[in-house]
């Protein structure tokens, strides 16, 4: 049973991929992708329940392992994948009608997305740092063609940058992994790269080697998480990828990479004391925040705007991770979920906007609310959620991170971060309001799109926002999972 439960998140999407490979894109298979995501979500919930009631489980000779943190990440993957895949059929259908895609590309899209899901599930379930690395790099390879799906010049450019920068960055993480392996082989032979054993023996690791390893790991996985300095692939890739893929990348992929950083931080803290990783993360976090603030100010493309906002939120997560402690970690995890939901809603929404207006430039989108009230409402509320307004959960998590930071003596960093967040919020609000508000334009092309959205696509947006708001009001059943995971990472049971 446990085997089944643990393998399902990897195997189900893989099977989905097989179906698409064999059957292609047709009416019957359109919803396979959503169904598989739903199954992932269901198993994630079941796993969570199991984890909360029981100890961590290991399967496949110790290759896969699930604890509260993995379970939580699975929930995140499942939930956001469900949203994204539910909106996919409508998206692809519109693309095909518009002649920007064929049923072949649609099938390949779905296939790759399924593989993408499998890789991410594998990443969070991996019991071993090496496996994790393999899975994360696999996501890069799988998504490369999704980013470049449209084969236009910008799409190819984005794909190239995406693969090169991510591969280079993640190669650093591989180096770090080897070095950590070296250190652990030396002090606790047999521990290898296994999380549980590494964490248990971390205090004996050689600090000299571990320092280098940690720096390389954090910078390396930080690349994939969209943190400075190797963040630059993110806006390009997100702006070129199809909307559901952008949603998945921003909502889950970044978080999965960040999950690796969280794991590494536990080891670093035990081996080097809290100060080392904290300093590094604070610097990286502030750099990411400053960068996204700087580039958001004069942003002209709304998909890039959302991408930079992802960098911002990853920076906040890094800040939370730097702070450490139960509150901060719980807040970070909640933030991962909340940001994932809000951001995927926004990317899905931006996909619709792109389909309606045919442009991704902010200054060419006007009076959205007058034309598409539901879409504009979701987009506007999503941005408000992103800047951390209640009832959306990002408020609680940002507050949690900030409070923990101030209590932990990182007041100045927190204050600086909050000021940057303010600048970012101002930029986001300004850009978004230009798109959403105002009277409907009456130029050419204004009346091409039908004012009503596809019901399911609209529902995906609304449900995403509602979920984000709901966990902002109360985490309810997620609460024990969150606190368990926080205990796990904060080191104090």
């Amino acid at each position: 049973m446990t085997h089944l439960l643990l393998l399902a998140p990897v195997v189900v999407p893989a099977l989905g991929a097989v179906i698409y490979a064999l059957a292609g894109w047709r009416r019957a298979t359109a919803w396979v992708s959503a169904a598989s995501a739903a199954l992932v979500l269901a198993t994630a919930i079941a796993t969570s329940a199991a984890v909360v009631n029981d100890d961590p489980h290991t399967v496949l000779a110790g290759l896969l392992r699930v604890d509260a943190l993995s379970a939580f990440m699975l929930v995140v993957i499942g939930a956001i994948a469900f949203l994204a895949t539910a909106a996919t059929p409508d998206h692809l259908r519109t693309e095909i009608i518009a002649g920007r895609a064929s049923s072949r590309t649609a099938a390949r899209h779905c296939l790759l997305v399924q593989l993408f899901l499998a890789a991410m599930a594998l990443a969070v379930l991996a019991a071993n740092l090496g496996m994790l690395w393999v899975a994360v790099e696999a996501t890069t390879i799988v998504t490369a063609f999704l980013v470049g799906q449209r084969r236009t010049r910008p799409a190819v450019e984005a794909a190239w940058k995406y693969v090169v920068i991510c591969s280079a960055g993640i190669a650093l993480a591989l180096l770090g992994t080897f070095l950590l392996n070296y250190a652990s082989q030396h002090t606790a032979p047999g521990a290898g790269l296994n999380w549980a054993e590494l964490a248990a023996s971390a205090h004996t690791l050689d600090p000299g080697v571990t320092r280098i390893a940690v720096v390389l790991l954090i910078v390396g996985f930080g690349t994939k998480a969209g943190l400075a300095p190797l963040h630059a692939w993110l806006p390009d890739a997100h702006s070129q990828a199809p909307a559901p893929v952008s949603a998945l990348m921003s909502g889950v992929l970044l978080s999965v990479a960040f999950y690796a950083i969280l794991r590494v931080k536990v080891i670093a803290d035990a081996a080097l004391g809290t100060g080392f990783a904290r300093t590094l993360l604070v610097v990286i976090a502030l750099a990411s925040l400053a960068l996204s603030a700087s580039l958001l100010l004069a942003q002209r493309d709304y998909k890039r705007m959302l991408a930079y906002s992802s960098i911002e939120h990853m920076g906040l997560l890094a800040l939370g991770a730097a702070v450490g402690g139960r509150l901060a970690i719980a807040a970070v995890l909640l933030h991962i979920l909340g940001h994932g939901l809000a951001k995927s809603v926004l990317f899905l929404g931006s996909g619709h906007i792109l389909q309606i207006t045919g442009t991704s430039r902010i200054d060419q989108v006007r009076g959205l609310a007058a034309r598409q009230p539901v879409l504009a409402g979701c987009f506007g509320l999503g941005v408000l959620a992103l800047i951390g307004l209640p009832p959306f959960s990002l408020f609680a998590s940002e507050l949690g991170i900030a409070r923990a930071g101030f209590t932990a003596g990182l007041g100045w960093a927190m204050a600086a971060a909050l000021v940057l967040v303010l600048v970012i919020a101002a930029a986001l609000v300004t850009h978004t309001s230009r798109m959403v508000l105002g009277a409907a334009p009456d130029g050419p092309g204004a009346a091409t799109a039908s004012p009503r959205m596809n019901v399911i696509a609209g529902a995906a947006l609304v449900v995403g926002l509602l979920a984000c708001a709901a966990i902002g009001v109360t985490t309810g059943p997620l609460h024990p999972l969150l606190s368990l995971a926080a205990d796990l990472l904060a080191g104090t049971p």
């Binding site: 090496g130 450019e157 190239w160 090169v164 080897f178 392996n181 070296y182 806006p235």
Partner: protein
């Protein structure tokens, strides 16, 4: 195998590793660079083989064979295929940092690699760990190639240099990280190169050129 021979062979392999990395920086002909890269794959395989012989591990020997096939065979072949399609652009004419400066930079990076490796050596001094500095240097040089070379193919080689270096470090410090991971890593690298190769082709189709610094449609 005697200890001295082991050390000499190890150092020889490492020397070739480093030399090939520097040569990649030096040469402009892409065809030559690919050949040098194949040579480096050979050196890496030799390195692992030496380690295998030293430890008497058959498993490691098998890995060495795998590396030989992948890094001296498959990957250079892939690169050559990409080059064949490239047509005119067979030279790295104008790197962002010129060759002389690149070599100087390589020297600095070597020093850095050496300095960084000191804690690693200190943890378990042995001929193998002392050679880690070479692996580190190759990683850094690979990264440097990525940053400074304009041709898509050169970047691909840079990425692979990094990877070779990392592999070298991995084997010099410990004898691998487990078969599954090892395989996974190799597969990933192979796939990444494949993907990049396909992208190179697409890029040529859409841009008609592979000067990467001209890829600036996406910017703020």
């Amino acid at each position: 195998m005697s200890h001295d021979l082991y050390v000499q062979l190890l150092d020889l392999a490492c020397g070739v590793l480093l030399l090939t990395a520097v040569l990649v920086l030096w040469r402009r002909e892409l065809a030559v660079i690919i050949r040098v890269f194949a040579l480096q794959g050979l050196a890496l395989a030799a390195l692992v083989a030496v380690l295998a012989a030293h430890e008497g591990s058959i498993e490691l020997g098998a890995v060495a064979v795998g590396i030989l096939v992948l890094r001296a065979g498959v990957l250079p072949a892939l690169l050559r295929r990409a080059l064949a399609a490239a047509g005119e652009e067979r030279r790295e004419t104008r790197p962002l940092v010129n060759v002389a400066s690149s070599l100087l930079a390589a020297a600095v990076l070597t020093l850095l690699g050496y300095a960084v490796s000191q804690p690693l050596v200190a943890l378990a001094p042995s001929p193998a760990t002392q050679a880690v500095a070479v692996g580190m240097t190759v990683v850094l040089i690979g990264f440097f190639v990525l940053v400074t070379r304009r041709r898509a193919l050169s970047q691909l080689v840079g990425f692979l240099l990094m990877d070779n270096g990392i592999t070298a470090v991995g084997f010099l410090t410990t004898s691998g990280v487990g078969l599954v991971v090892e395989l996974g890593v190799s597969l990933d690298v192979l796939l990444a190169v494949l993907v990049l190769q396909i992208l190179t082709t697409r890029m040529r189709a859409t841009f008609g050129d592979t000067d990467l610094d001209e890829l600036r449609e996406l910017h703020d």
